[in-house]
């Protein structure tokens, strides 16, 4: 009886894993099966259209990469900077303790609330409307907590001996951080940044709230209206016609390729940086 119970719970664990795996595989097979036939050169390079079979996806692909780039430019320096401050400067003051609780809370705020913030702050008060810049600023705020937390845990892995050696040679605090601590923590920070950006690429809700257009052409400037892959998928999947659902699954295949490539490179950088310092 004991032995049976023992193996029962083991198999329960395996069973639960299998449920998740089967779900994931079904999802991928379903999406690829209905989407692959739609992925042609014309689809990938064509512009958006009201007619499902004529529509391409290029503006959404370009939009996805442009918004990723803009978000990276805004969020990386601020996020890494904040992480460095909390880990290296603000260890023992009350301001830093308050910041820490605040960041933990921000990480739990639903993404759609960031959309409401972006709508009022960037789209209306700063008059950016439904532009790339408004979208990127909103997504930057959304992923800041992720980058900060990742930066901090990467900095934690840097051994004290490196800092001490640098100080012993007469380097200042900032010189030590810039020349030794940051390079040593780069792998971990990079992993966090890529994961955060991959989250931004898949986000839909906040961008709907700040106001997304459905028919846009390939953008010329950051003030142009945007569309991104998730928005296009949402738009297509909300229509009753079968042909639009096929378009949606084709766009999902492209979106999944982008997120998977990002996640695998994050895992690669993490494995590379892990075990570099053994204490």
């Amino acid at each position: 009886m004991k032995a049976f119970k023992n193996s029962f719970f083991k198999y329960l664990g395996i069973f639960s894993t299998v449920v998740g795996v089967v779900f994931l595989i079904t999802l991928l097979v379903d999406v690829f099966y209905s989407g692959m036939s739609r992925i042609t050169w014309d689809f990938v390079t064509g512009s958006l259209s009201r007619h499902a079979h004529m529509s391409g996806i290029l503006p959404a692909i370009v939009g996805t990469f442009l918004i990723m780039l803009l978000t990276a430019v805004i969020a990386i320096p601020i996020g890494v900077g904040a992480g460095v401050y909390l880990e290296e400067y603000g260890k023992n003051n009350r301001f830093a303790a308050f910041l820490e609780i605040n960041i933990a809370n921000l990480a739990g705020v639903p993404s759609i609330i960031y959309g409401i913030l972006g709508l009022q702050l960037f789209s209306r008060w700063m008059n950016l409307g439904a532009s790339f810049l408004a979208g990127a600023l909103t997504l930057s705020l959304l992923i800041l907590p992720i980058i900060i937390v990742a930066t901090r845990s990467a900095l934690k892995t840097v051994p004290l001996s490196i800092k001490e050696a640098s100080y012993a040679l007469g380097a200042t605090k900032w010189q030590t951080i810039w020349n030794h601590v940051l390079p040593a923590a780069l792998g971990g920070i990079l992993t966090g940044i890529i994961l955060a950006l991959s989250r931004a690429v898949g986000e839909t809700a906040p961008l709907i709230v700040i106001g997304a257009k459905v028919f846009v052409s390939v953008p010329n400037s950051v003030y142009d209206p945007y569309t991104v892959l998730p928005l296009q998928i949402f738009n297509w999947v909300s229509r009753p016609q079968e042909a639009f659902a096929t378009n949606a699954s084709a766009a999902i295949v492209i979106l999944l390729l982008i997120t998977f490539i990002m996640n695998f490179s994050a895992i690669y950088f993490r494995n590379k940086s892990q075990g570099r310092y053994k204490s």
Binding site: S16, L86, N102, T172, A205, A248
Partner: protein
């Protein structure tokens, strides 16, 4: 560089980095300000009592009602279904990973959980609407095209990695001495897991469940795509409903004139959502602190 210049640079960098950190406080204040400002406008026209007790939510209709209850019931119904799926599956994966699986198995399961958690939510929404709902309809005849059952199940799978990995962290944090003590008294693996390790990790596991609930309440795309747009005070998982998040999406997509009462509803709804998730996150923060204090 002279000493003075160097001192200045040091100070300058510290202030610059501190400003970066301050962005997070500005964000929090911004969220509070934006939500409160228009909510105050909303509540000057609709009484709080009506908001909390009216059983209809029809702000954009001729006969306007502003009761948040139907949106709340929709939100909680879907969250409940999602937790019903994610908790048993996630817990048994966590117990399996921390108490049974060897390193080789862990190396396969962990990346799989990471892939699952990296999938954009709009993709899950598509899958719920286009695949899971028709599949369920084939053996649940009364199931509507939009319902809370299908997005609830899919959301359960979506938060599964979160429950599994947070619970596993909690189980791993339990010191081996407790396990060894239990084995020394002649307990089996399963007795040790369920009578010693799980109770010892209970506050850590509570954290994972609360965070999962909070995540499910705030999830938007799955419900906006697959649950419908009909605010309805019901516990029936087979009919279309609407959640708080889906309502915000619905208004954002439409052309409700800005600064009208209908437009202000998204801020009142957003504030409700924010308060809910804030409370849950704070409770989880408390349990987390308690749990860490226990074993560190």
């Amino acid at each position: 560089m002279s000493l003075k210049q160097r001192m200045f640079k040091e100070r300058f960098m510290e202030v610059l980095l501190m400003l970066c950190a301050t962005v997070s406080i500005v964000t929090t204040l911004g969220i509070l300000f934006v939500l409160l400002k228009d909510s105050i406008g909303f509540f000057s026209k609709v009484s709080l009592l009506e908001f909390l007790t009216d059983t209809q939510w029809t702000p954009l209709f001729e006969d306007a009602h502003f009761g948040i209850l139907p949106l709340l019931s929709g939100t909680f119904l879907i969250t409940f279904i999602a937790i019903l799926i994610a908790l048993p599956l996630g817990m048994s994966i966590a117990i399996y990973l921390s108490e049974y699986a060897d390193r080789r198995v862990k190396k396969i399961i962990k990346p799989f959980l990471e892939i699952l958690s990296s999938i954009p939510t709009v993709v899950f929404g598509y899958f719920a609407l286009v695949f899971v709902t028709p599949l369920l309809q084939s053996f649940i005849p009364g199931l509507a095209g939009f319902n809370s059952l299908s997005p609830g199940i899919v959301m359960g799978i979506m938060i599964l990695p979160m429950v599994a990995s947070l619970s596993e962290d909690a189980l791993n944090a339990v010191p081996d001495s407790l396990r060894e003590g239990s084995y020394a008294l002649g307990s089996s693996q399963v007795q040790t897991a369920f009578r010693v390790v799980v109770p010892a990790a209970s506050s850590g596991i509570t954290v994972s469940v609360i965070l999962a609930i909070s995540r499910a309440i705030g999830e938007t795309m799955i419900v906006a795509i697959a649950a419908g747009q009909q605010p309805r005070l019901t516990l029936n998982p087979l009919v279309p409903i609407e959640t708080i998040t889906a309502y915000i999406v619905q208004v954002s997509k439409g052309d409700v004139p800005q600064d009208s009462l209908g437009y202000q509803t998204i801020f009142a709804a957003g504030l409700t959502l924010f308060v809910l998730t804030f409370l849950l996150n704070s409770v989880s923060f408390y349990f987390n602190k308690k749990f860490r204090a226990q074993y560190q």
